[in-house]
Amino acid sequence: MEKLKGLKCRECGRAYRAAPVHVCEFCFGPLEVDYDYEALKGVVTRETIAAGPPSMWRYRELLPVEGDIAVGHHVGFTPLVRAQNLAEELGVREVWVKNDSVCHPSWSFKDRVVAVALTKAKEFGYDTVACASTGNLANSVAAHAAEASLKSYIFIPADLEPGKVVATLVYNPTLVKVEGTYDEVNRLCSEIADKYRWAFVNVNFRPYYSEGSKTYGYEIVEQLGWRTPDHVVVPCAGGSLITKIWKAMKEFKQLGLIERVGTKVHAAQALGCGPIVTMIKNDTDVLVPVRPNTIAKSLAIGNPADGYYAYRTVKESGGYGEHATDAEIIDGMLLLARTEGIFTETAGGVTIAATKKLIDAGVIGKQDSLVVCITGNGLKTPDPLYARLETHVKIRPSLSAFDRALADLKAHSVREG
């Protein structure tokens, strides 16, 4: 079965053969994978998917890979948790947490996109992969390259703190520190991707890479029992994930796997870097770039490439968007941890905070069903929490000291209660 037609330009529609290219040579628009959905109809069914492995590869027929899975065999199929305690706190009937903070192997949803990009890189015969990243993407590329025995180059700004790169360096990539401003590093990496025959995952492999995000959406629908929720709240950085979750739902409908898509897709961003939510709130398709200034580092993209498409997705689905301040982000992280025992990174705090605001504003109804997208793990970047958490009790090593402390705690909780 030929499921892939090739690539096509999202702007002018020009067709390209499947190759490691990402920009339309005519209009400089972004390229995306073009599938033959007619050929897939009846071939991809609920049964064929259910018979697949407990990983994102159960949806491989809807991904742009044609040969064997080269890397990341255990990525995805993360828990969709019924969050009853959180639902009670938020005052909503049905809340689910799609928890990619435990995605194998590097604890973020980036494992999904990287697994597709590196499998495709192997298909195209590449032996070297690369990315420019300050966090989750770097972790994931380095980890998967190690598994696939590929050489990897990770580019970072020279002033990045050492603690941020340990979870990348441990996999033994070639780490390149680039001296220069953020903009200069950005431009250099674009030129490097243009010159060297490497699979730069989010540059020349972007059309394939981004398709991996669809599996997050497929899993939501399948794990809900083949239905779409009333609402999904998605954190936005480059804006790709939100468009791919929406695309996943529409593909399932197109293939007859679900009857309808009844989901409103909402965007969540930090107030200190929220150009997509600003577009939504101002009801304009013009994206004004911003200088990121937020503790939500994993969402800090000031001029997101998919910002326009993210805006379009929200509008098409009838969703909305909300910003979260730094204090609200911390509150969101603590709320999720306290109610559901899930420790998410700051991006997850943004999502929880935005969800709360959408509920308070009546955008999400009290009787509705809701999926909150948690895309990364809090253990990687605990720094923002240090100032807000403290040990409750400090005692000498004696039983009597503990007895007194316990009595004090109980008395305190009675007074508080």
Binding site: E11, F28, A132, T134, P157, A193, N202, G238, A305
Partner: protein, 80 residues
């Protein structure tokens, strides 16, 4: 000669200025506009630049000094 694909985003106060003309005239850069969206108060242009590497650097630095955002065509190459 070096080629570069960039996206320029113009702030409102620069919309009416012929900045691309100056890139050509003052920095000896060949420009080739591929796609653009210019409104009364905001605009971006996707274009190819071709020229001597030093001139390209100078031209981009001049644009940035004017308040223009200069990104590679992919924009978010560095991602968190």
């Amino acid at each position: 000669m070096t080629r570069m694909r960039v996206r320029l985003t113009f702030p409102p106060e620069r919309i009416q200025e012929p900045l691309i003309y100056h890139l050509v005239k003052d920095f000896d850069i060949i420009t080739n506009i591929r796609r653009a969206d210019v409104k009364s108060d905001y605009g971006w242009v996707a274009l190819e630049l071709e020229g001597d590497e030093r001139n390209l650097e100078k031209g981009i630095a001049w644009l940035k000094a004017k308040g223009v955002t200069v990104d590679p065509i992919e924009r978010d190459v560095i991602v968190p």
